[in-house]
Structures are given as C-alpha cells and as structure tokens.
C-alpha cells in the first residue's frame, strides 16, 4: 500500500512539474484543476523543479499563468509546447498496479503537458524537464535495458541526453550496464536521473558526447 501511495505521489509530482510547461492546455483546463487539487501534498517537491523549469522560456511562465488564472480557456490550439498531454489513470483495480495509463476509463484522470522534444543541443531547462519526464514514464523499462546493456529505451534515453549515435551509443550502453548498481539505486526517478548525470560526468568521453546531460 505504501508503495502505491508513494508512486502516486511521484506521479503527481511529475504532473505538476510538467504542468508548468503547458502553453495553454485548453481542452484540459478542467483536468488541470483536478491536478492542482489532487497533487497538493506533492506540490512542494514539484515547486522546485517547476521553478527550475521556468527558466527563460517565455512560454513556461505563460503556461503557469494560464493555469493559475481561474477559468481561463485558451480559444483554440493544442496543449503543450510539443509533447502534448499525458493522461495517467489512477488504478484501483488491483494491488499490484500502482498506476497505469489507460484510455477510456471511468477513473480519475490527469492531464498535463510536458516539455519539448527536439529542443536543440543545449543543457537548457526544457531538456532537463524532458529528461525528468522520460525517466518518470520509462524507468522500469530503462532499468531492464540498462542491465541488459542495450535496448530501445536505452537508445531513446541516450538520444534525449544528446549522446549521439555509433561509438558513443555503444559506450553509453556499456557504461549503463557497468554502473547499473550505482545508477539505479532506490525507486525515485529524479534520484536515478541525477545518478545517471553523475556517472556521465565522471566519464570523460561521455561527458563530451552527451551534450544535453
């Protein structure tokens, strides 16, 4: 039960973090309010990340503004500066499922928007948020790929970190496996991400090739 509560809090945190990146989540304004209410206990944790994320992207602040303005509905357009809306379903059907993502269901849903993909080769705040979201959404799969030393999720993560293809991907894969224990300590996706960044920094070649880490 504890785990379920924990993973819910983690997801709520990610939701709020990502929510700060919304441009004008028009269709999902109603769900956005739910996020605010439901995610209250996790809000403090998320605020830091959201602040970091607000950086210099003008859109970010505007998103928060849109969400903060009561009843605001943008007149048109899709949500998000790119990745769109993430719907997470809280699952109450079985004890072994903390949360799962589902289509048409009658359960509580959340909408949020995440950062941009293809955000360019910089270590900017948008890239950081994108990495956090990727880690939160893919950590179980990523851990398996890392332990096996290759896989689609691992390649995707390398691409998000800007690590490049070819030899640097091979090096990234090998490094992920040899440092598996150090990286995948605990169950917090943010801590795992930060471990990952540290391991990359310690490796001279990767520190150079992973330009967005």
């Amino acid at each position: 039960m504890n785990l379920t509560v924990k993973s819910r809090a983690t997801i709520a945190t990610a939701l709020v973090t990502c929510f700060a990146m919304i441009l004008g989540a028009p269709a999902f304004a109603a769900e956005a309010k739910k996020v605010k209410k439901k995610a209250a206990p996790a809000a403090e944790g998320a605020a830091d990340a959201a602040d970091a994320a607000s950086g210099d992207a003008a859109a970010t602040g505007k998103a928060a503004a849109a969400a903060g303005t009561k009843g605001h509905r943008a007149p048109y357009g899709m949500a998000g500066c790119g990745l769109g809306s993430l719907i997470i379903k809280k699952n109450s059907m079985g004890p072994q499922i903390g949360a799962s993502f589902l289509n048409m269901t009658g359960y509580q849903m959340f909408a949020l928007t995440t950062g941009c993909s293809n955000c360019g080769a910089t270590k900017d705040s948008v890239a950081k948020v994108e990495q956090e979201v990727f880690m939160e959404v893919n950590m179980a799969s990523l851990a398996k790929d890392a332990a096996q030393g290759q896989g689609e999720h691992l390649s995707a993560f390398a691409e998000i970190l800007g690590c490049g293809q070819g030899d640097s991907l091979i090096l990234f894969n090998a490094m992920s496996r040899s440092n598996y224990e150090q990286i995948f300590q605990g169950q917090n996706s943010k801590a795992v991400l930060s471990n990952y960044r540290n391991v990359i920094k310690e490796n001279e070649k990767l520190a150079k090739s992973c330009v967005r880490a």
């Binding site: 993973s7 048109y76 496996r177």
Partner: protein
C-alpha cells in the same frame, strides 16, 4: 499551490516587460522555422481585392459544397443522410449554421481570414492562426498566393510545434484487450514519425489519439453515456513512449503500425488539422463516433483525396486497419511491437525444457536469496553466462508482464526478486537482444471482415426441417478462422439467428445475443490467463418439450429463454498439434416462459476440445452438463454432447456444420454458409 502558480505568473510578466532577450530568441527561432503560414512581418490591413478574387474562385468551383472542404470540416452523413459536421463545439464554426451548411462556413471563413489582423498580441486569435488547415486548402484550390493573405504572427502555434518536423505517419492498431470491455475491439491511433531513418528512436516520436474524457465513476452511467454520446472526445498529442508504456506494458496489447503514404504536404496538413481541432470536442459515441471513426475522419481532413469513411452505424478499430489496407498503395510499411506478454512468451519458448521448469520454480519460490544459485547451476553443472542471460531475461519479462509494470512503478509481488535479477543481469557480460518474431498470422489487416451473414438448413427434434438466417454486427467467434485475430478470443456483437420452420411455416427469433464473449486463451499454463465467457440475450429452446420435468402451460415444444450467462475455467494447449482443451464452470440466470414462476438458475460444467489441424479448418467437440432450478426446485438435468466444424473456403467465406444430442432425446443437425463483409 495558488502561490506557486501566481509566482510564475509574475515571473512571466517580468519576462514580457524586462527581458527583451526572450523576444529576440523567439523571433530568431521563428524565422528559422519553416512554418508556411506565419511571417514575422508588419501588420497589414485587409486586402479586399484578394478577398473578392478568392470568393469568386471558390464560388465558381462550388468549393463550399465540395467533399474535400466538407472533409476538412469533419462532415459526415447523419442517420437521415444529411451532411453535417461531427464536431460539437460551436467555436469550431465561423458561420452560425456552419455545422450543417459547409458553404456558409466557407464564406464565413474567407471573410474572417481577411479581417485586419490587429496588434501583435491579438494576432494569435486571428483565423489565419486558428484555422491553418482551411487556409492551406483555400490557397491550394484558389491559386491565390499566401503573400496576398493577411500576414499574421501565430506565436502560440509556433511555440507549440517548436522545431519539430515529421517525415511520416502511421496508423497504429492495438490488439483487443479482453480484460476491459471498452477495449474489446482494440483501439487505433496515429504515430507521427520524426524521421524515417532507422537509427532515429521510434519511442521519441509523437502519438495523436482521439479519446473520450469520461466525467463519471459510476459504471452504469458510464456505459450508458459512453454509448449515447454523453462524454466529450478530444484529440491528444503525447510522446509515443507513453502509448507504448500504456498499451505494450500496462495492458499487454500488441501494437501494429501501418505507415501511410503521406507526402510532406499531407503531413503538414495533418498537423494543421490537429491544431485546428485542438480544444474542440466531438461527442464520443461508443459505436460510431469512436476513436476509429474519428481517426479516419482525421486522416481524410489531412488528405481529402482519401475516401475512408462511408455511412455506417458502427466502426470498430480493426475495421480502420482493413479500410486503410483496402486503399491500393496507402500502406507502405508494417511494423510490429510486441506486448509484455508476447515478449515473455517469445523468450520463454526460446528456453530449453529444463530452463522452462527452472523458470517456473524461480517464479514459484520468489526468493531473492536463492534465485542466483538456481540460475547459475544446471542439472549437469554450471550454466554458461549466455544460458543464464536467456533465463534471467525470460524471468524479468515474466515479472514485468505479471505486474503490468509500466512507468516508474515498482513491482509489488516480485519487487525484490526483480531488483536482484537486474543487478545480476548487469554483471553478465552479454548484450543479448533476441530478434522479435512478427506473428504474421495475427496481422490485423489480413483477418476476415467484421460483419457476417449466414444461411443454413437443418433438422431438429422429430425430423422437423428448418432453415436458418444469420446476421451479426461483429466480430469473430471461436469457430471463425483465427487469421488476423488474437487466437482464442471470440466476440459476438448483436448476434441474430432467425429460423423458419417448414412444418408450421413460422419464422422466429431463434437466438439474439446483444453480446457474447468467449475467451479461450491459447497460452502456456504459466501465464495463468483464465478462460471465461459472458453473454446475455434470448433464445428459443426447442428441447423443452422433450423434458418431462418442465411444467409446461401449453403443448408447444419450444420455450423462450431470456438469460444472462457467465463462467470461468481453464485451458490447456497442446501446441504441437494445435489442440486446445478447455473446461469452464458456468452459471446461467434467466427466465423461461413455460416455467411456473418463470425464473431459473442453472449451474453447469462445459468442457471441450478445439482443434485447428490446418489454418482453414476448425473442429470443436464439447460436453455440457447442467442442472436447472426454478422456484419449485430442480426441474431439469441436462447432458449435451456437441460437435461443430468450420472450413474456410477463402477469406470471408466459411462453411460450417454442427450437431448435438441431449439426454432428453432432442437432437439437431445444421449446416450453413457464412459470409463476412
């Protein structure tokens, strides 16, 4: 919380007023973006000459009533055959009667495009920004160059799209998911490819999805409103990896990706449609305005030369794939993404018998302390690192499937075991990636069509001849050919059998089942997927008169039953000869019009063998035993032995025959021809 958002709000204002750099960056970004409809130029006034010219051209071509324009407005015939838009948000239309009058909507759109664009902050709300798909269409058809339209900066659009570009689009079909009734028929959505190059990671592509946003938790109102259009449906735009986590991992549904022959312009138009539809709702109807129907309309709006939809009262997701496959040349590539269950089974089947036994033992014991010694040893000594890696990977896939592990969730039952195995796996110097085998026989576009008609003739009871007429809306039953379908899942939807009895010249509804589902998973026992069935409907039981126990009020042989039936059980597959043994415990509750008091309960046991010696042939032998109890106690014990066969002459054409006999002496034999369409 409020404070948090307010702070950001102030931060944003500060940026607007005191940080010109942000704007420099923005303008630079915009000029670098190849965005066809927005230019960073001075605000122009409306150009009445261009407007007049465009109006003349469009009315000369009668563009306002053309199918292409109507597709862009999501027009579809209603049940009276009148063309109207399925979009239910008035804000999507510029003319007051734009939902029903596409010509008025075109006129209103043209006038609105030539409105002065106003000051920069309001340009975002200009129709040039709100309706880029319509703009692109009008430019293409009128031949008027874009430079002659108002020059507007569409900042929101540019912010939203960022620097992303797409080179391809795929229709994605997810196989059906028997554990959730709302996804019994599968689901379809789109994947926008960032690149067609193999080395670009597919997970980082984006998904376009249409779905209902239910606003109730009550399952009853949920089903009702789901069918009656009570929920708003919206498009969403998410990273593809989210969909992969959701479908492949959490729900264990295989994904089939059909890449479509869309040009760069078609893809750009598709993104325009997505933006244009943005927040506008389409009421979701489970049967016709569902994910599949709307996705097809969406593709038509992007590429109006396509004709994918026609008047019909239901659209099911596998039809989407078949519809697209039926357009010559539209599918350029088919990719397959195995679900968690398929990944496990592919790894499991690759193991030796010894390893399979070991896997079962490891899962059974669930002991993080003993597992490593179990893995590193074989009966004859030490296991090689390669063999160990194979086994560990298979166990890991089992755990992920069993736990429906997705996102950053933690395995609950096998959490410690998984952690131990992952660490150990990382210490094995083997980067092993088993190639995915694509189960071609399950490719959804090769399956038979969904609706079915049938005619047949037979003899029942005391040699009474009858003819039988059959119709069902969808989809597939356990006797249908499994090609293109998940083996073992039978779904009948609005299943009707009429019988004409020659002796008394009567035509009667022999069976009508709004829904009838049978799941007989043809999977290894370790997966522990139960067999189950659920149905409700009405049937005519011609054997009533053969059973002395029935308290009949008249002398007719048949009695009308209204029943709800459910059951669970086990299956045992014998893969080598394609045989499946099953057994289920059933309970039927119902009403019998010839029984005093009417209502009855009938527990029973049903067992059988389902055999597919070759792909075109199926044979089913079964035995049912049940006892029926009414208000006055037990009134019938029934034993029934049945044999059924199917021969698929070619896709969509089947011959079927069946025969059964009861302990009461009643028997029936029937043969027929079935046609899917």
């Amino acid at each position: 919380m409020k404070l948090f958002f307010d702070m950001n709000f102030r931060g944003w204002k500060a940026q607007l007023h005191f940080r010109p750099l942000a704007f420099v960056k923005f303008s630079f970004g915009m000029s670098a973006i190849a965005c066809a409809f927005a230019f960073d130029g001075p605000v122009t006034l409306a150009d009445t000459d261009s407007l007049l010219e465009m109006q003349n051209i469009t009315s000369a071509q009668n563009l306002g009533e053309s199918h292409e324009w109507q597709k862009i407005l999501f027009y579809a015939p209603d049940f009276l055959g009148r063309q109207r838009s399925i979009v239910d948000d008035p804000a999507f239309f510029l003319a007051a009667n734009g939902k029903t009058d596409s010509k008025a909507e075109l006129d209103a759109t043209l006038r609105s495009l030539f409105q002065p664009s106003g000051e920069a902050t309001k340009q975002n709300l200009h129709s040039m920004c709100r309706f880029p798909r319509r703009v692109a269409f009008l430019i293409e058809k009128s031949g008027i160059s874009r430079e002659r339209l108002p020059q507007v900066v569409c900042k929101d659009y540019l912010d939203w799209l960022g620097s992303r570009t797409y080179e391809g689009v795929s229709l994605v079909f997810s196989s059906s998911y028997p554990n959730n009734p709302s996804s019994l028929f599968g689901h379809s959505f789109l994947r926008a490819h960032r690149s067609l190059k193999e080395q670009r990671n597919k997970l980082l592509d984006d998904a376009i999805n249409f779905m209902a946003y239910p606003n109730t938790d009550n399952p009853l109102t949920y089903s009702f409103r789901g069918m009656a259009g009570g929920f708003p449906g919206f498009f969403s735009f998410t990273p593809y990896y989210l969909k992969v986590q959701e479908y492949s991992n959490a729900d264990s549904r295989d994904l089939w990706e059909y890449r479509l022959d869309f040009s760069t312009d078609d893809i750009r138009n598709m993104i325009y449609v997505l933006w244009e539809m943005g927040p506008h709702k389409i009421d979701y109807y489970y049967f016709d305005e569902n994910c599949s129907a709307v996705i097809l309309k969406f593709l038509e709006a992007a590429k109006p030369s396509l004709s994918l939809t026609h008047l019909q009262f239901w659209v099911i997701p596998s039809d989407t794939v078949k519809t697209v496959a039926n357009v010559p040349g539209l599918i350029v590539d088919v990719q397959y993404r195995p679900s968690a269950l398929t990944r496990f089974l592919q790894k499991y089947r690759h193991l030796t018998l010894d390893q399979q036994t070991k896997l079962s033992a490891i899962v059974e014991a669930n002991s993080p302390t003993l597992v490593l010694s179990e893995i590193s040893r074989t009966s004859s000594g030490l296991a090689s690192p390669v063999d160990q890696a194979f086994l560990v990977d298979a166990v890991l896939e089992f755990i992920d499937f069993y736990e429906r592990l997705a996102g950053s969730n933690i395995a609950v039952t096998y959490g410690a075991l998984r952690a131990t195995l992952l660490k150990y796996r990382a210490s094995l110097p083997i980067s092993h990636l088993q190639a995915t085998q694509v189960p071609q026989e399950e490719r959804p576009d090769v399956g038979h069509d969904s609706s079915r008609l049938g005619i047949g003739a037979g003899v029942s009871g005391k040699n009474e001849a009858f003819s039988q007429y059959h119709w069902h809306t969808a989809l597939h039953d356990k006797m249908s050919s499994d090609r293109g379908y998940s083996a073992g899942l039978g779904i009948d939807f609005f299943d009707l059998y009429l019988r004409y009895r020659h002796k008394d010249k009567s035509l009667q509804v022999h069976e009508f089942y709004p829904i009838r589902v049978t799941s007989l998973p043809n999977l290894e026992p370790i997966v522990k997927r139960p067999a189950w069935n659920l149905s409700f409907g009405t049937s005519l039981d011609d054997s009533c008169g053969y059973d002395g126990g029935v308290r009949r009020q008249n002398k007719r042989d048949s009695c009308r039953l209204y029943t709800v039936k459910g059951g669970v059980g086990l299956t045992l597959p014998l893969k080598t000869i394609n045989l499946l043994a099953y057994s289920m415990v059933n309970l039927t509750l119902g009403h019998n019009n010839q029984l005093s008091g009417g209502i009855f309960a009938e527990p029973g046991l049903e067992s059988g063998l389902l055999w597919a010696p070759i792909a075109q042939v199926k044979v089913n032998a079964s035995l049912s035993n049940s006892a029926a109890f009414g208000r006055t106690g037990r009134f019938r014990i029934r034993h029934l032995a049945a044999l059924a066969g199917m021969y698929e002459m070619k896709k969509n054409h089947e011959l079927r025959g069946s025969a059964f006999v009861q302990n009461s002496g009643y028997r029936e034999i029937l043969a027929g021809y079935y046609f899917y369409f």
